[in-house]
């Protein structure tokens, strides 16, 4: 008996077990085994022709043993993955207020465009004369990004936000090297996302945290005191991870520049200001843009994303390869550090970047236009402030509003209730909503970071606010048990994460073969 059927029979041995049914299923909550637990011999989900007769050229390098992949028919596979999909919460199924992640609607037009054979079915190393339209997409998207940020250059190849950070910090290091300066320290805001310090370290820098002040912003005086000839860059997020605009950002930029360092801005929260504020006007030298956040390329269950990096003139020459440039016969691709790209710092991934994401992002930008993108920022900020204003008396907001595109709460409102931030999040699930970001940023206790985005209606926000008010009231009334038990209406209840980490099971393994007859 495989693990799955064992599990199902466990449910049903004592009459109706945990699941409450004989089959193990509960209405639309289906118990789905692993692919590997389906009896597989003799089935296959594809029909391939017999290979034509040909000389085998693998010789001794040919694989000998079985791989162990299960054979399954197409209808079973369609059902398997469809059932799995039904165990997921997604933007398409409801509000996904995950702070810092900008979970906005993903238009299907963008999917359709990315799948045009002229984009999806072109090889990255085809002669450039056969891919002029693809290079035009990269060029046009670059143009939109440069205008929206006010920056003169953009590196298009990074594959996600963190990859963009790497790109930006490498450009900074290359720029200092070119000047013959050795600067080994990077100052990172205490409230920064974990990728910021991890990136700085991956570029060989030591990391020092810049504290936040009582207003949730960078402590300018403290930062100034930390600046010195050993500081290569300061990494800040703006709007910051508390959902606040850094009011002293221009003073910060001036201080950074006066110290001979560069200002890296984490652009994860660009959605709050797109079309309204240009990072260049804030003194930013380099910033990544998560196309999967602001420009709505789907999050895909954790990627793929894209993280183009806009660069000030001082850093632009160091942008990584490849560069798409206007040449004599249309677009050209510079793939070698020579000519205009002589100072390019290297390469970060294969080929030309996340083309599929570029098409989607461009379709999104063209759909909104200059006017629509301004409205995106306005509505995103309006929605977040509506939540902040509606909930500030029921929950506790650590900082004075207005906020930008996300509303931050801490856990003071749960003090002495026995209910934690985690419990609140899990109770929200039983009410049909995806939780907010929990315990991030680290600068407030028990953070609950709510980012509604502009694609939510007022009716949805009102329901969400109503639920949080009710939950906050119940927590204060002492209904701890309800919170500790939540969620109860999901395919699984709380999962044992400690146990998972203590004895990691990271793949399926074939149950031990029955012991061979010892006499053999």
């Amino acid at each position: 008996m495989n693990e799955w059927s064992k599990a199902i029979s466990n449910f049903t041995t004592d009459g109706l077990g945990v699941s409450g049914t004989y089959s193990g299923h509960r209405g639309l909550q289906i118990e789905e085994p692993l692919l590997f637990e389906r009896d597989s011999e003799g089935r296959c989900g594809v029909d391939l022709p017999e290979p034509p007769k040909a000389r085998n050229r693998l010789g001794a390098n040919a694989r000998k043993g079985r791989i162990g992949l299960p054979g399954i028919s197409e209808p079973e596979i369609v059902r398997h993955f469809t059932r799995l999909s039904q165990k997921n919460y997604a933007i398409d199924t409801g509000l996904y207020p995950l702070g810092s992640c900008t979970m906005k609607h993903n238009p299907r037009l963008n999917e359709k465009m990315a799948r045009l054979p002229g984009f999806a079915d072109i090889h990255p190393l085809q002669p450039v004369s056969t891919v002029q339209g693809a290079l035009a997409v990269i060029d046009q998207l670059a143009h939109w990004l440069k205008v929206l940020t006010g920056m003169p250059a953009v590196a298009m190849s990074p594959a996600a936000g963190a990859h963009g950070e790497l790109c930006g910090m490498m450009a900074i290091r290359a720029a200092h090297d070119a000047k013959g300066e050795t600067r080994n320290k990077v100052l990172v805001a205490e409230s920064a996302h974990g990728t910021n310090p991890a990136t700085a370290a991956a570029c060989g820098f030591t990391v020092e945290a810049v504290p936040a002040n009582a207003r949730g912003r960078v402590d300018l005086a403290a930062m100034k005191a930390q600046l010195g000839p050993d500081v290569a860059a300061v990494m800040l997020t703006n709007p910051n991870t508390c959902g606040l605009f850094e009011t002293e950002i221009r003073e910060i930029a001036d201080a950074v520049h006066a110290a001979g360092a560069y200002f890296y801005c984490d652009g994860a929260n660009f959605n709050a200001i797109v079309g309204r504020v240009r990072p260049a006007d804030l003194g930013v030298d380099v910033m990544h843009i998560n196309l999967h956040k602001t420009f709505s390329t789907p999050h895909g269950g954790g990627g793929p994303g894209a993280g183009p990096v806009v660069l000030a003139a001082a850093l632009a020459p160091f942008a990584p390869l490849p560069w798409v440039v206007h040449g004599r016969n249309g677009f050209e691709v510079l793939e070698k550090a020579e000519g205009d790209a002589a100072q390019a710092f290297g390469r970060l991934k294969g080929f030309h970047g996340q083309m599929g994401m570029f098409v989607r992002a461009l379709a999104y930008m063209m759909s909104h236009g200059a006017d629509g993108l301004r409205q995106v920022a306005s509505d995103a900020v309006l929605n977040a402030n509506y939540i902040l204003a509606s909930l500030k008396d029921d929950m506790s907001a650590p900082f004075e509003g207005p906020c930008m595109h996300e509303a931050l709460f801490d856990d003071r409102f749960l003090k002495d209730t026995g209910v934690t931030t985690l419990d609140m999040a899990k109770a929200l699930i039983d009410e049909g909503f995806h939780p907010m970001t929990m315990y991030f940023p680290l600068v407030v206790h028990g953070a609950l970071l709510i980012e509604p985005t502009e694609t939510e209606s007022k009716a949805t926000l009102d329901r969400f606010i109503g639920v949080l008010k009710a939950l906050a009231a119940e927590a204060k009334e002492g209904k701890v048990e309800k919170f500790r038990a939540a969620p109860t209406l999901t395919p699984r209840r709380r999962l044992d994460e400690t146990g998972a980490a203590r004895q990691p099971v990271l793949r399926w393994r074939r149950p031990e073969e029955p012991a061979r007859d010892a006499a053999e």
């Binding site: 929206l148 996600a160 209606s457």
Partner: protein, 447 residues
């Protein structure tokens, strides 16, 4: 604007609740000098039809590989992707979800990632795999950095057969992170003596199989040589379909496998997004980069899945993390998982046989063209030809005749004149015998 649900009346009502007169008042923290009160110099919004027309026009300026006989590889391969794959990955429950931070409402994503990890471990012959990296090139750089951590050494020996973009990506990381790479020169004809370069400072040897020029090797002896000096063997795979036909890296003694998974489930898309695969031995799992899904039980004792071992990761460990990666290639990993499950054992092995047979037939046909020499005999679905003149010009001439002939090595090694006449040619299950004959005939015409 069709994507924005708020009406003017609602906006006014909401502003009243907030207690400010206008939305602009909410932006009061923005310095005046940086506030843009007018829309930027960019086109205004457009309807779906207009956007569709404009983008279709750009798409039409490209020559889709499927519209002509096409033989390009060099790290990206055109395979048939079953219709089921693209249908399922577009289910909103998968496509519009995010990293499964809340396991109770993302068991679907978590389970397919566990299945993905298992499939990757099985085909590479390794113990464990992670939930994906950006692509093969970045995965390779991460593999070297992981080997540096495991061995506490900082010098990698890199084969000349590693894909040039992977080499450059690794060298870029080396430059900034402060480790050394000893790069062997690309050489399609001779075998390189990597073992001789391993010493007690070497963290790892990086090889590719099949290598950039298509050659298939058994690296077991190299693994033994590396292990004898306390170094690791990193095996890179560009064409993952090869693992249906070739000895897997795990059986050769590889310690880390970094691979490109595009061939299974994912279209060419001009080189991205694709999906990096990353696998290793159990004993090194805590030094791995990236997300890992693990099995556990819920409060009722039922089996379930969670993200695990996150104390390696940036959101917990910050500057001490094993990598800075956060978003990876989730949906491409799903495409891989679905396609691989449709193939199963029979299909994966069958697909590999088909690829090998087609490439073998094509190699014979092309080698018969006067002046053309086949450089490597042990190959899977890609091989290198030496032409009597520079390959780049030949490829351009063949484009004019409606054939995408392959990748001139000079495209990736422009400053190595000794490689200028080399052409990389790949064949997959998609190429018909008629395509191959057309290619051979037209090659003869342009030489």
């Amino acid at each position: 604007m069709r994507y924005l649900p708020l009406t003017e009346v609602e906006r006014r009502d909401m502003l009243a609740v907030i207690g400010v007169p206008t939305v602009d008042a909410l932006f009061r923290d923005v310095p005046k000098a940086a506030w843009c009160s007018e829309p930027f110099d960019l086109p205004p919004h457009q309807g779906e039809l207009q956007v569709e027309r404009a983008l279709a026009k750009l798409a039409a300026q490209n020559v889709p590989a499927g519209s002509v006989p096409s033989f390009l590889g060099a790290g990206v391969y055109r395979h048939h992707v079953p219709a089921t794959v693209d249908h399922i990955i577009q289910r909103g429950e998968f496509m519009t979800s995010y990293t499964p931070y809340q396991p109770e409402v993302t068991q679907g994503t978590l389970q397919y990632l566990f299945e993905f990890q298992t499939q990757v471990a099985l085909i590479t012959g390794m113990d464990v795999a992670n939930a994906s990296m950006y692509d093969g090139a970045s995965a390779t750089a991460e593999a070297v950095m992981m080997a540096n951590r495991v061995t506490r050494r900082a010098r990698a020996v890199i084969s000349g057969g590693l894909h040039p973009h992977y080499r450059e990506t690794t060298a870029t990381h080396a430059h900034f992170a402060g480790f050394t790479v000893e790069q062997f020169a690309p050489n399609p004809s001779a075998d390189e003596d990597l073992a001789a370069s391993i010493d007690d400072k070497t963290s790892c040897v990086v090889v590719q199989n099949p290598d950039f020029f298509g050659k298939v090797r058994d690296y077991s002896a190299l693994a033994a040589a590396a292990h004898a000096k306390g170094a690791l063997l990193v095996v890179v795979v560009n064409e993952i379909v090869s693992l249906g036909a070739v000895i897997p890296p795990g059986e050769m003694g590889a310690d880390i496998v970094a691979a490109e998974g595009q061939s299974i489930g994912n279209p060419l898309t001009f080189g991205g997004p694709h999906v990096g695969l990353f696998a290793t031995r159990d004993k090194y799992v805590r030094q791995m980069p990236g997300r890992l899904v693990g099995q556990t039980v819920d409060a009722d004792g039922r089996r379930g899945w969670v993200l695990t071992l996150s104390t390696r990761e940036q959101h917990i460990r910050r500057e001490k993390a094993t990598s800075n990666i956060c978003t990876n290639a989730g949906l491409c990993a799903l495409a891989f998982t679905i396609h691989m499950s449709l193939l199963g054992e029979t299909g994966f092995v069958g697909l590999a046989e088909l690829n090998h047979a087609h490439a073998s037939i094509l190699a014979d046909k092309l080698a018969a063209v006067p002046g053309v020499k086949l450089l490597n005999d042990g190959f899977f679905n890609e091989f290198t030809l030496a032409l009597p003149k520079p390959a780049a010009g030949v490829v351009e001439a063949l484009v004019a005749k409606g054939v995408l002939a392959g990748v001139p090595v000079s495209r990736l090694y422009p400053d190595r004149p000794e490689l200028a006449n080399l052409l990389l040619v790949a064949a997959t299950e998609i190429n018909t015998e008629a395509d191959m004959d057309e290619f051979a005939a037209k090659l003869q015409e342009v030489l």
